[in-house]
């Protein structure tokens, strides 16, 4: 046993501290790392691999490599094509209308009128409710016999316009779109409101002195300052809408006659009712590819606008 000089003790202690400091950092990161990599990335990678096999729900542990067969098959499937078109339409119209309506609602919410704090504070309520609850509400509102919509139509003498809304091929899709708007527009509004409040007020005062009216102020000051938050919300909701399964599955199940079928519901049914896990995975991978393209497109579109 020998005595180290104070200096070397100091050094070894500091090495020990820096080592343990690092390993402590890794140690406390590990659980989150494990959950995220193990339960998110691993399933996705193995889902991509499964799309090249004939994996079936009947015996998921055994499968054979089939190359691109699933992809060729699914791309030729008419219902898949219908679902793809519906998904793109729904995503485009929902996000486009959400941005517009979100801007309008935020412009209302930023006004200093009595009672505005109440409106601001309850705004996000639709966003926090479980989607099944929203679906129950909309199904209940649109019941053919005693739903509120048809009752109101009858009361104002327009009974002939009443119908079984979710059972109608045209209106079912519209209702799915409306439910997306109902849930998400307030989120846009509140996010835009926060960004609007961060814009320095002297910008507006200078504009007013220069004789710019409300509309020009909105166009030349508010909108450019919201560009970044708009991009964030668009990317978030393109992803949400394109991937959303619950609204359609719980309200119409994809019907009537595929009128509301979207990619998530089609793929889900192929996997869990049709037992074709490999085939469904191929559909999922195609969704992922399309989504990546959509997100990149949103990104470069905004960049392009920013450079103007």
């Amino acid at each position: 046993m020998h005595f180290a000089s104070p200096k070397s003790v100091n050094k070894s202690v500091s090495i020990w501290i820096s080592l343990s400091r690092k390993s402590f950092g890794y140690a406390i990161l590990f659980p989150a790392l494990f959950v995220i990599l193990g339960l998110n990335l691993y399933p996705t990678v193995s889902g991509i691999l499964a799309s090249f096999t004939n994996k079936s729900l009947i015996d998921p542990s055994h499968s054979a490599y089939v190359g691109f067969d699933n992809y060729l098959k699914i791309l030729k499937e008419p219902v898949f094509q219908i679902a793809l078109v519906h998904s793109l339409e729904l995503t485009f119209f929902a996000v486009f209308l959400q941005v517009i309506l979100g801007l309008v609602m935020a412009t209302l919410l930023i006004q200093n009128v009595p009672g505005i704090h109440f409106f601001r504070s309850v705004a996000m309520i639709t966003w926090v409710l479980p989607i099944i609850a929203s679906v129950v509400m909309f199904r209940f509102l649109t019941l053919p016999n005693y739903g509120l919509i048809n009752v109101l139509l009858r009361d104002i003498g327009l009974e002939r316009l009443g119908r079984n809304w979710f059972g109608d091929e045209t209106y079912a899709f519209l209702l799915v779109l409306i439910m997306h708007l109902w849930r998400n527009v307030p989120f846009y509004a509140v996010a835009f409101l926060a960004a609007m409040q961060a814009i320095p007020t002297d910008l507006y005062e200078a504009a007013r002195i220069d004789g710019a009216g409300d509309w020009r102020q909105f166009w030349f000051i508010t909108l450019p300052n919201l560009r970044y938050i708009i991009l964030v919300m668009v990317v978030l909701h393109v992803t949400f809408t394109f991937n959303n399964f619950d609204f359609v599955y719980l309200s119409t199940g994809g019907g009537p006659v595929n009128a509301t079928e979207v990619l998530p519901t089609y793929i889900y049914k192929q996997a869990w009712n049709g037992y074709m896990l490999g085939y469904a995975s191929a559909g999922g991978v195609l969704m992922l590819v399309i989504l990546v393209v959509l997100v990149l497109a949103c990104n470069s579109l905004t960049r392009g606008l920013a450079q103007e």
Binding site: G25, P31, A32, V128, Y146, W182, A194
Partner: protein, 277 residues
Amino acid sequence: MKGRFPIRRLIIYAGLLVFYSFLLLPIIWLLLSSFRNTDSIQSGRLLPGWSEITVGNYIATFQISNFVTYLVNSFVIAFSVMVLTVLLGSLGAYALSRFTLKGKRLFMMAALLPQFFPYVLVLIPFYVLMSNLNLVDSHLGLILTHTSLTLPFALWMLTGYFNAIPKELDQAALIDGCSRLGVLFRILYPVAIPGLVVAGFFAFVVSWGDYLFVSILSQSNQTQTLPIGLQTFMSSLEVQWGLITAGTVLAIVPTVIFFSIVQRQLVSGLTAGAVKT
């Protein structure tokens, strides 16, 4: 921008009326109907008579077999997901914010990526994984699943929150003999409460509302949650909308109460880092 003229104010209120009728009417109609008896709901009248108002739907809902089980399952799972997300998220965020680790940026990106993955794709290998681990139809399986969905957001948001807290604070505490974990719990936690609350709320709401994963990973009453229960009610109790509306109200009350508590912090948390350009 003050309402300079009454006419301007009038337009603002008219606009708000349009938006909020659309947003609140479905909720109000649901609430009102849950207190009406079946005849009243089916009468096609807008407002019920006093004699038609009842709490019978709520009593009946609790008597439907399984409803209480669904409620308890939802609470157990959503609460566990909330605790686990905040705990693991804050530990990870503490590591990412305060320690120099290799591959930090890569990991941050990797953690964000899953947010874009189609859940219907992830679900398939998830099911295979969970059945290999014998976790299908177990609370633990659902808790882990939901936590993996909520953790990336919590990790990102909390890392941002912790980065905004001066490092001098934890150095001072370390010198005073506080342990490294002590720094997290005694120094960072109190300052980051708004962030922790939003992360917890988000985790609770996602878990409480999830239908997709529960529909596959849960296969019996032992683990099924309220969304599954409500969907079953809707398809099997076809005409008993009194029960369905009452069950739905019971399912939204916890999130509404929770929301009213965190409402102020919610937006800044959800768009963390996004508002500042």
